[in-house]
C-alpha cells in the first residue's frame, strides 16, 4: 500500500515537475475526449427524447401509425404531403380482424386563433373522443371531446396550457369563447401540460371534434393520419399487410402505382432514429479518433524527449536499485496518468459543451455513466499504448551512460 502510494506520488510529482510538457500532452486528448463526450451526450439525448415522445404518443409495440401521402420514412420531412386518407379508410381498417382500435386525427392548417383582444397562431387538430386516452393526455380542467360532440360536429375546443397562457393570461378558460379563423368555439377543457419535446411545444395545441374539423374548418373530409392498435403485438406485420391491401383498394391504386400513404411501425421509427444518429456518431467518432491518435503521437514524442532529458534521473534510480521494469512501469504510469487527467478534463469540457449546446442551441443532450467509462477507457488506452515506446527507451538506458 505504502509502496503503491509512493510510486503514485513519484509519478504525480514528476508530472508536476514537467507540467508544461504535461499540459501540452493533454491538449489533444482533451479535445478528443471532449468531442467524444459531446457526441455521446447528443446521441443519448436524442434517444431519450425519442423514447419519451413515443411513450407520450402511446406508441407501444402493439400499434402503428398510418400517415397520409406516400414516400419513405425519413426522407419526406419538409415535403408538402398530399392528404389522402378518409374516414372510410378508418372505418375499413377498424373492421379488420385483430384491430383493436383506430384513432384518426385531422390537422387543420395553422390558423389565427382569437379570444377577446388576444390572438395567437397555433396547431389545430380534429380528434375523436378516444384520442386523449390513446396518447396519454389527461385533463387539467373540464372535459375532453365527447361522442355527442362528434355527432353534432359541435363547436367545442380543448386547449393546451400554452394556448391558455397566450389567450387567457393563464386563467381557467373553461366556458369561455375563442375563434378559430372566423368560427366561434366554446372551451370545454384544458389538457395537462406535457412540456416541450425539444423541437416543438406540445402544449401549443387546440383540439376540436374530428367531425367539426372536417366539416366546419376545412373544405375536405380527408384525415391526416390514424393510429391503429392491434389486439396482439405479434400480429403487427400481418395486419400491416392487410391494411396496405385495404387502403390500395379504397384508393383504387393499380399495380405499379406507389402507395399514397405510409405505415410507420415503432420498430421502423426506432431504426430510423438510431440510423440517423448513428451516422452522425460514426462521423464524429472518426473525428475524435483522429484527434486521439494525433494526441497519442504527441504524447509519445514529448515523452521520448522527456526521457532523454531525464536520463540522469533514471540513472540515479537504477543506481539505487531500480530494475529495468521499475523504470518501465514508472514511465507507463506517468503517461497513463497524463492521459487519464486529460481524459477527465476532456470529459468535463464535453459535459460543459453539451450543456451549452442544450442551453444555447436547444439540442437535447443527456449524460450517461457509460460515457464516463468510455472517456476514461479511451484515454487510458491512448496513454498506455503511446507510453510503451518512451517507457522502453527509458528502461533500456544503461545506468552508467544515463549518469554521464
Amino acid at each position: 500500500m505504502s509502496l503503491a502510494w509512493r510510486l503514485l506520488k513519484a509519478a504525480l510529482s514528476s508530472l508536476w515537475a514537467f507540467r508544461s510538457y504535461a499540459a501540452l500532452m493533454m491538449i489533444g486528448l482533451i479535445i478528443g475526449i471532449a468531442s467524444l463526450t459531446v457526441i455521446h451526450q447528443i446521441g443519448q439525448g436524442a434517444q431519450q427524447q425519442v423514447a419519451a415522445r413515443m411513450a407520450s404518443m402511446g406508441f407501444g409495440a402493439d400499434a402503428f401509425y398510418i400517415s397520409s401521402g406516400g414516400g419513405r420514412l425519413g426522407v419526406r420531412r419538409g415535403m408538402k404531403r398530399a392528404v389522402t386518407l378518409t374516414p372510410v379508410d378508418a372505418a375499413s381498417i377498424s373492421r379488420l380482424d385483430g384491430v383493436a382500435q383506430v384513432v384518426p386525427h385531422k390537422n387543420v392548417a395553422r390558423t389565427q386563433v382569437t379570444a377577446g383582444s388576444n390572438h395567437t397562431n397555433t396547431r389545430v387538430r380534429g380528434a375523436p373522443p378516444g384520442w386523449a386516452a390513446a396518447r396519454n393526455w389527461s385533463m387539467l380542467h373540464g372535459r375532453f371531446i365527447s361522442r355527442a360532440d362528434i355527432g353534432q360536429s359541435a363547436r367545442v375546443a380543448v386547449v393546451g396550457t400554452t394556448v391558455v397562457r397566450e389567450l387567457y393570461g393563464g386563467a381557467n378558460p373553461v366556458g369561455r369563447r375563442l375563434r378559430i379563423g372566423r368560427t366561434p368555439f366554446i372551451v370545454v377543457g384544458v389538457l395537462e401540460s406535457k412540456g416541450s419535446s425539444g423541437w416543438r411545444d406540445r402544449d401549443d395545441i387546440i383540439l376540436v371534434p374530428l367531425s367539426t374539423a372536417t366539416k366546419r374548418l376545412s373544405r375536405d373530409d380527408k384525415i391526416s393520419g390514424m393510429r391503429v392498435t392491434m389486439t396482439d403485438a405479434s400480429r403487427v406485420e400481418e395486419i400491416k399487410g392487410e391494411v396496405t391491401a385495404v387502403l390500395r383498394e379504397n384508393h383504387s391504386l393499380g399495380p405499379g402505382v406507389p402507395d399514397d400513404f405510409l405505415i410507420i411501425t415503432p420498430d421502423e421509427l426506432m431504426k430510423l432514429i438510431t440510423r440517423q444518429s448513428r451516422s452522425l456518431v460514426v462521423m464524429l467518432t472518426f473525428v475524435s479518433a483522429v484527434s486521439l491518435f494525433v494526441s497519442g503521437v504527441v504524447i509519445m514524442n514529448i515523452m521520448l524527449v522527456a526521457v532523454s532529458e531525464r536520463a540522469y534521473e533514471i540513472g540515479v534510480r537504477r543506481a539505487v536499485g531500480a530494475r529495468r521494469r521499475d523504470i518501465l512501469y514508472q514511465i507507463l504510469m506517468e503517461s497513463l496518468m497524463v492521459a487519464a487527467a486529460g481524459g477527465v478534463c476532456g470529459l468535463l469540457l464535453g459535459i460543459l459543451l453539451s450543456y451549452l449546446a442544450t442551453l444555447l442551441l436547444g439540442i437535447p443532450t443527456a449524460f450517461s455513466p457509460s460515457g464516463f467509462l468510455w472517456a476514461l477507457g479511451f484515454s487510458a488506452a491512448v496513454g498506455l499504448f503511446f507510453g510503451v515506446a518512451p517507457a522502453k527507451k527509458a528502461a533500456g538506458l544503461h545506468p552508467v551512460e544515463a549518469l554521464r
Binding site: 505504502s2 509502496l3 509512493r6 510510486l7 513519484a10 510529482s13 514528476s14 515537475a17 540522469y312 534521473e313 540513472g315 540515479v316 534510480r317 537504477r318 543506481a319 539505487v320 536499485g321 531500480a322 530494475r323 529495468r324 521494469r325 521499475d326 544503461h398 545506468p399 552508467v400 549518469l403
Partner: protein, 242 residues
C-alpha cells in the same frame, strides 16, 4: 568481501576498441577504507562502476560475499545494488525536484517492500551527516557540501555492506571536502567498508589503504599506517579562519 580476479574492460564504439582495464586483481576486506588513485583516464571510474555492479566487466571474475556476480542477470544486480551497496558520486546525483528526505527515501522505493520505519531511518541517516535541519530542502536550496552529505545519507540509509564514492570531493571546496571525508572516516571507524576514487593525494592519504592504478593495471597497493584525520584538519582550518 570483494574479490576481483583478472578483471578486464574494453569499450567498443563502432569498430574502435578502447581497452581500459587490463586485468585487475583486488581483494577488499570488511571494514577497509580503500582509496583508488591514478591519473585521469586510468580507469578509476570504470573500475568503481564494475565494483558497484553498475557495469559488467569484459572478462575476469568478481566474487561478492563469495558468490560470482558475472552470472547474475540485470534484476539480480539491481537487487544487490539496492540491498548491499551505496553510491556517492562527484556530481551528487540527487533528484533535483525532491527534498533531502525524499532523496534519502529513494532506495526504499526499490527495496521490494517499503519498510514501516523508512521515514525514521531516513531522518536518522540525515542526522548522521549533520543535516537534521535540512529535511525538506531541495538540492537547489543547499550548498554543494550539504548536497554531498545528503548523497551520503542516501548511500547509508539501507545499511549497505560497502559504500562506493567516485571523486566525492571533486566538486567541493576545501572545507566541505574535509567535512565529507570526516563523515566517511567516522562511518569507517564504526566498521563500514568504503571504497573511494580520487585523484587528490591529500584525500588519498585520509584513507587506510591506497591502490594506485596506472593504464588499467594496479601499480601499487599499500597500507597507510597513520591516515590524516579530516576532523583535525577541519579544526585547524576553522581556527585559522578566526
Amino acid at each position: 568481501m570483494i574479490k576481483l580476479k583478472g578483471i578486464t574492460k574494453t569499450y567498443y564504439r563502432g569498430k574502435v576498441e578502447t581497452p581500459v582495464l587490463l586485468g585487475i586483481d583486488l581483494h577488499v576486506r570488511p571494514g577497509e577504507f580503500l582509496a583508488i588513485m591514478g591519473p585521469s583516464g586510468s580507469g578509476k571510474s570504470t573500475l568503481l562502476h564494475i565494483l558497484g555492479l553498475l557495469d559488467r566487466p569484459s572478462g575476469g571474475s568478481y566474487l561478492l560475499d563469495g558468490s560470482e556476480t558475472s552470472t547474475l542477470n540485470d534484476d539480480e544486480l539491481a537487487r544487490l545494488r539496492n540491498a548491499k551497496l551505496g553510491f556517492v558520486f562527484q556530481a551528487f546525483h540527487l533528484l533535483p525536484k525532491s527534498t533531502a528526505l525524499d532523496n534519502v527515501l529513494l532506495p526504499f522505493t526499490y527495496a521490494g517492500h517499503f519498510p514501516q520505519d523508512a521515514a525514521h531511518r531516513a531522518r536518522h541517516a540525515l542526522a548522521r551527516v549533520g543535516l537534521e535541519h535540512r529535511l525538506h530542502h531541495r538540492p537547489g536550496e543547499m550548498s554543494g557540501g550539504e548536497c554531498q552529505r545528503v548523497a551520503i545519507a542516501r548511500a547509508l540509509v539501507n545499511d549497505p555492506e560497502v559504500i562506493f564514492a567516485d571523486e566525492p570531493t571533486g566538486n567541493l571546496d576545501q572545507r566541505s571536502s574535509l567535512e565529507v571525508i570526516s563523515i566517511l572516516q567516522g562511518l569507517n571507524a564504526e566498521g563500514r567498508t568504503i571504497v573511494l576514487v580520487t585523484h587528490d593525494t591529500a584525500v588519498g592519504c585520509m584513507c587506510r589503504r591506497l591502490v594506485r592504478l596506472i593504464y588499467g593495471r594496479v601499480d601499487s597497493d599499500e597500507i597507510i599506517a597513520e591516515p590524516t584525520q579530516a576532523m583535525r584538519q577541519l579544526q585547524t582550518l576553522m581556527e585559522a579562519a578566526k
